[in-house]
């Protein structure tokens, strides 16, 4: 629970102490400290206050990076100043060549992700609704999941040859497991009483699966897709770095290595890859909240 209640002046047990004359620096210091913590809480207790603190942190970090780069402690080639990275990143946002690379990565990433979700959710629903099969399926998933997808890049190149197909199939493979795993966990979590409620109204197994199990497991599925999206992005860029091809963020980054290298472009390109991940996560969090509104506080009883 968030501490929202603040002591109001003139009320509560603190008011008596307030009216008493101060007797020394110690009590004065205690009062100052208390006021400071109250002010901090006043800031963190509000959405704009938290946003402000976050912005202060981000700007501070950028300033620190800028200072470190300009101070000469690091080689200017190795660590380009934050200001020039941001300037390059802004230029890239209107550069058709870079946007083409970006779009290649995004389209392969989304395609792989979409196929993975389209396969994993029905598979999870099927495996999860058959008794005992979900335990067997979970065991398989737990075994297959720790294999890093990037370790399969050479195999994928051997099998699929074309860089585009290599990338899509690897993203799909990597995204499959988190979605399947979270769908299975979500289905295990479905309240039996919720299912019985709908059964008692005469709904059959399919109706119960569609109307209760799936929406009930929904938040878990969304979490699985969020994890799959971040893993998928890593795999997409890795595949491009290794398998090459006509376009993609990885291909662009490889290009910045040539002729002595352009670290500012490399870091700026990496920033855009990060921005993709942040955007995908934000979209999925919002979609999850929209699709499956839940109580803000669990266990808020009557």
């Amino acid at each position: 629970m968030r501490p929202t209640a603040r002591p109001r002046p003139g009320s509560g047990p603190g008011s008596a102490a307030r009216t008493r004359p101060r007797t020394g620096w110690l009590t004065g210091a205690a009062g100052r400290a208390r006021r400071l913590t109250q002010r901090a809480r006043w800031l963190t207790g509000r959405a704009w206050g938290r946003a402000l603190l976050g912005a202060v942190g981000a700007v501070g970090t950028l300033l620190l990076a800028e200072l470190l780069a300009r101070s000469g402690v690091f080689d200017a080639q190795a660590l380009p100043p934050a200001s020039s990275v941001l300037a390059r990143a802004a230029e890239m946002a209107v550069d058709d060549g870079f946007l083409g690379h970006l779009w290649t990565t995004v389209s392969a990433w989304l395609a792989g992700l979409a196929v993975a979700v389209a396969l994993a959710v029905p598979a999870g629903l099927l495996l999860g609704s058959l008794p005992r099969l979900d335990t067997a399926a979970l065991a398989v998933v737990e075994l297959a999941r720790p294999v890093p997808s990037v370790a399969l890049i050479p195999l994928a190149i051997l099998v699929f040859v074309e860089p585009d197909r290599v990338e899509r199939s690897l993203v799909c493979y990597a995204a499959l497991w988190p979605v399947l795993l979270h769908t299975l966990y979500g289905l295990r979590d479905v309240d039996p009483l919720a299912k019985e409620t709908l059964r008692s109204f005469g709904f059959g197994p399919l109706g119960v699966a569609w109307r209760v199990s799936l929406p009930s497991a929904g938040p878990h599925v969304v979490t699985g897709v969020r994890i799959a999206a971040s893993v998928g992005l890593i795999v997409a860029v890795s595949a491009e770095l290794r398998a090459g091809g006509d376009g993609g963020l990885g291909v662009y980054l490889l290009g910045t290595q040539s002729g002595g290298g352009r670290p500012d472009l490399m870091v700026a390109g990496a920033c855009w890859a990060g921005a993709l991940g942040v955007a995908a996560n934000a979209v999925l969090v919002l979609a999850g909240r929209r699709l499956f509104p839940r109580r803000a506080e669990a266990g808020a009883g009557p």
Binding site: E196, S216, P293, R294, R295
Partner: protein, 268 residues
């Protein structure tokens, strides 16, 4: 309406929940089943609802043997937080089962809103169940059952998870939808809500006063394994109310009788 003969159920772990239960409920009757906890009340209800296959015995609803969930049946469970769907609004929770009634979207919504008004929950249709108080959530569950207009309504300790005041309100609500009293949310007291005429209700409770107050007949089960100990007709004047009815000598006599039967030692 409901005929139970020789019903026994033994769980897989060997626990004998109910044994040789015989019960007949006429159409339109409200029968409450009362007994100590663990006497198989809920098992009995689940068998009637077709959610559980009994080890032995016959159950028939409206002359048809129960094999799976019978048509025209609704269940109100004690645990409304688990029984209502948190991803649906109040209106959609009430409207969802009506898909089985072959109604189109507009009809389902209209009937859901009417049922919500009937239980005194106008203006909550767009909210989510978890935004309401416990008592209101159980009203939603009752509205969902009423909107379905079942021939047989099963209630498994429906008022067990709400505070005493809300409990009394919900008891009166139950009486009001059957046309017995002037309850909240009814425009015309004394007449049953549309579609609920002749609705048969089986209510499981562990509350002795409640079993007498709402019912036409009280069936007392004895514990472990559950058997029918006695059946007591409740002949209390029709518009019942919490203060007056509970003060009647007939009520006091009945609750004493039921109380004695319930408190009888479990093992013979």
């Amino acid at each position: 309406m409901l005929d139970i003969a020789g019903l026994s159920h033994r769980y897989a772990d060997g626990h004998q929940a109910v044994e040789d239960v015989e019960l007949h409920v006429a159409r339109g009757e409200l029968v409450s089943i009362v007994g100590p906890s663990g006497c198989g009340k809920s098992t009995l209800l689940r068998c009637v609802a077709g959610l559980q296959r009994p080890s032995a015995g016959d159950i028939s609803v409206a002359g048809r043997a129960v094999d799976g969930v019978p048509d025209d049946l609704a269940v109100v469970f004690q645990d409304y937080t688990r029984s209502l769907f948190p991803w649906l609004t109040v209106r959609d929770n009430v409207a969802l089962p009506l898909r089985r009634r072959g109604l189109d979207r507009a009809e389902r919504r209209a009937r859901a809103l009417a049922a919500l008004a009937q239980v005194g929950l106008d203006g909550t249709a767009g909210k989510y169940p978890w935004q309401l108080s416990g008592g209101m959530q159980q009203r939603v569950a009752i509205a969902r059952a009423l909107a379905y207009r079942p021939a047989l309504l099963l209630m498994d300790e429906p008022f067990g998870s709400v505070d005493a005041q809300t409990r009394e309100d919900l008891e009166d609500l139950l009486l009001s939808v059957r046309g017995g009293t002037d309850g909240p949310g009814t425009d015309a007291p004394g007449t049953p809500a549309p579609g609920t005429e002749g609705m048969t209700i089986l209510l499981v409770t562990h509350d002795i006063d409640e079993s007498v107050y709402v019912a036409d007949r009280v069936v007392v089960l004895t514990g472990a394994p559950g058997r029918v100990h006695s059946e007591l007709p409740v002949e209390l004047p029709a518009p019942r109310d919490q203060i007056g009815t509970r003060a009647l000598p007939a009520f006091v006599r009945l609750r004493t009788e039921v109380g004695r039967a319930v408190r009888r030692p479990c093992t013979p």
